[in-house]
């Protein structure tokens, strides 16, 4: 295995969340602009000072990030787009960090944002991918809910997990979300309510599902010297991994790409699972969070259900997980769902998380997963972040 180069000298700063809205008439451009300006303001920069931009969005059409660049009046020597859904944040970070390290760009603003008009979700699904069109939607058009229900059905049959096990993820995240003024879900959730929820696609029920909404998230990637010069709290990147279409011959997706590369992630960071102070998994559905807990080495394969039973996943617990409430309780603002955990993790390790702050948080792991093309999520990625002055 070729040694991976460390991320020395490049840091993450200026985490920004634009509070989500269930429905909004505003465009993705509007939401992205708000997030971008928030990050630049935090860094004392104006738009003309920015030379790098990475955008993830499902609702820019008919614009691409090129149209967006001119729309926002930016002049760039680095322009990237990461169309990887929930893996977009970590992947955008990986690209930007290397470009900054190499001196190809000074500051990259990584931004994800999406509109959510009444018909946005239906239009998104109707033209998602060839395989979705040919091999998924004609079969009941259950969308991702049905695709992940099949996955959850197979996972439960294989490992004996019960609905209560998945419910524990949702319940703990809701407890975290009640501390987060930006979360769209404002009421407590009990395990009984989770079990009794309206069925969507067996065994998936209402509280297994995220709420699509409009919103945006952003952070900046820059040299450590720049961050210090601007007096910005910053997070270091201790390690990252990325893998797409892992295990294509697995009949059902019971493991994701992290299982191929988790060892390398810890090796880069020079630490192990017990050194991680908080974990942000991509929680489009609780079953995927359980899969990430296993594949990222916190427990053996198939052992996530007993693991979750044995730990407290709230911000005051012994295994803080999805500390802002995750997408299940905060909402999924399209591609910004792939940034939510990462932006919150930057806040956590720099002591800026406020009401959801995990005491003494030094190292955070962020995991991304995305793009269910037909029967499985194709994209996966993960990163370990550490507080800047630790």
């Amino acid at each position: 295995m070729t040694a991976r180069a460390p991320y020395d000298g490049v840091v993450l700063a200026a985490p920004v969340t634009v509070p989500y809205q269930r429905y909004s008439q505003e465009t993705a451009h509007w939401w992205i602009a708000r997030a971008l300006r928030g990050a630049l303001d935090a860094a004392g920069m104006g738009p003309r000072d920015l030379d790098g931009f990475s955008v993830s969005s499902f609702s820019l059409f008919p614009d691409s990030p090129v149209g967006l660049t001119q729309h926002l009046g930016l002049t760039l020597r680095y322009l990237d787009t990461v169309p990887m859904g929930g893996a977009s944040g970590v992947v955008a970070l990986r690209r930007a960090a290397r470009a900054v390290q190499a001196g190809d760009v000074d500051v990259v603003a990584c931004v994800a944002g999406d509109a959510n008009r009444i018909d946005s979700f239906r239009r998104l699904l109707s033209s998602f991918s060839r395989f979705s069109m040919d091999a998924a939607y004609p079969y009941g058009f259950g969308g991702p809910n049905a695709s992940f229900a099949l996955l959850m059905d197979a996972y439960m049959a294989e490992y004996g997990a019960t609905r209560e096990d998945f419910g524990r993820i949702a319940v703990a995240q809701r407890a975290n979300a009640l501390r987060n003024p930006n979360a769209l879900m404002k009421t407590p959730l009990t395990l009984d309510q989770y079990i009794a929820a309206r069925p969507i696609a067996d065994p998936i029920a209402l509280f297994d599902c995220v709420m699509p909404c409009a919103g945006a998230e952003a952070f900046l990637v820059m040299r450590e010297g720049d961050a210090r010069h601007r007096n910005l709290p910053f997070a270091r990147i201790e390690g990252t991994i990325e893998r797409h279409n892992a295990f294509p011959d697995d009949p059902m997706q019971l493991r994701g790409g992290w299982a191929m590369d988790a060892d390398q992630l810890y090796a880069m960071a020079g630490c192990g699972p017990t050194d991680i102070d908080l974990l942000q998994t991509y929680d489009d559905y609780p079953v995927i969070s359980l899969m990430q807990i296993e594949d990222l080495g916190f427990c053996p394969k198939g052992g996530a259900a007993p693991f979750v039973r044995a730990h407290d996943l709230t911000v005051t617990g012994d295994f803080p997980h999805n500390t802002s409430g995750g997408q299940l309780s905060v909402g999924q603002a399209g591609a910004a769902g792939g940034y939510l955990g990462l932006v919150e993790a930057i806040r956590q390790v720099t002591g800026q998380a406020g009401p959801t702050q995990v005491a003494g948080a030094e190292r955070a792991m962020v995991s991304g997963f995305g793009m269910i093309n037909f029967d499985r999520g194709v994209c996966s990625a993960a990163a370990i972040l550490r507080g800047g002055d630790a």
Binding site: M133, D134, A136, Y137, G142, P199, F374
Partner: protein
Amino acid sequence: MTTPLTTPKRKDPQKRTTVPLLPPLARSRAALGLTVAATEGRFALQHCADCGAVQYPPRDACAHCLSVALHWRDTATGAQVIAQTTVRATIDPYFRERLPWRIGTVKLDAGPVAVVHLHGDVARGDRVRLALHLDRAAQGVIVALPPTQTEAMEDDPLMRTLTNHPRHRRILITDARAPVTLPLIAALQKAGAAHVFVGEAEGWRRWAGRDAIAALPGVDILPLDVTDEDSLRTLASEIGGKTDILINTARFIRPGGVMGQDTVFAREAFDTNVLGLMRLAQAFGPAMAGRTADGVNSATAFVNILSAHALSPDPGFGGFGASQAAARSLSQTLRAEFLHSGLRMVNIYVGPTDDEWHQPLPPPKVAPGALARAIVDGLIGGVEEVFCGDVARDLAERWQAGPGILEREITGGGA
């Protein structure tokens, strides 16, 4: 266990008829291979000519070796259900009306994994037999069926949408005098048809066999002349709203090519076989198209009987053959025009039939009973293209392989 369908209640005339909706219609070009296979009742997938890997979902390059030499081949139908779900919420209007809807993931013996419709009698862990059927959008979809026949399995609500089963339906057969009509009535009633209307042109002209049809229970003989628009309009106003399947058996056939003839027989052949089809579609099509979501006895199919020589003519029946080619072309246009209603346009291609006009021809010829069975089997199977009999199947195969060569083989020069 499938609950058998019960006889539908009489329709309440004060209630608005459910407007037909379609499941998702769009497919990539590669995926249309599934649709073509479904029209013929075949289970076919792409096989890589270089490494043999079977592909699903349909695609443009082999997922194992990147070869672009992918060919559609009949494929082993065995599979195992490895996951299942019941969809209880959807934003799609077609499926929303039909919830809850069961789907599953299957691992094919042939290799790939597929998301499929589940018949009510199968569940996770079961071995299944896969089949390709046309859904209401006339696109090929995979359904997981019990490996052997189970009781009333065709009455599963899923299968009713994927087939044109005669059970509980009211059928119009357009020409009582056609030799196929009598055995066709028997086959339809055996399949559970609720009622059969039979059209008769020139009722003043007596013909042997009329009494046999008139004596059958559940059958009405009514005036119908495919060369007369008024006749069709009148009949449609009476029974158009309760015609669930229309089977056009009207056919004018005479031997003769082009040279040494006048155009009289050809004109009659076109008037009956081509314009007759147009008139029938214009008279009965709109009501049928409006009723494809009208409960158990919804309108479902318009069936055409064509000579297999519609593909490539027999010069001994050149005028007739031209009318068949024209009718085939019209049926393709009608298929497109009926697409958004969910009404199926079914073509039954048959070689020379065993009747007076083919008397001098050598065997094999298709007996009326065999044609009748092929029609009903085609309706039960939900297919759109049926090739009935050895001659029709042979012509179709040779036409697919090389239409130019087939033409020369028929017209002379081929030893």
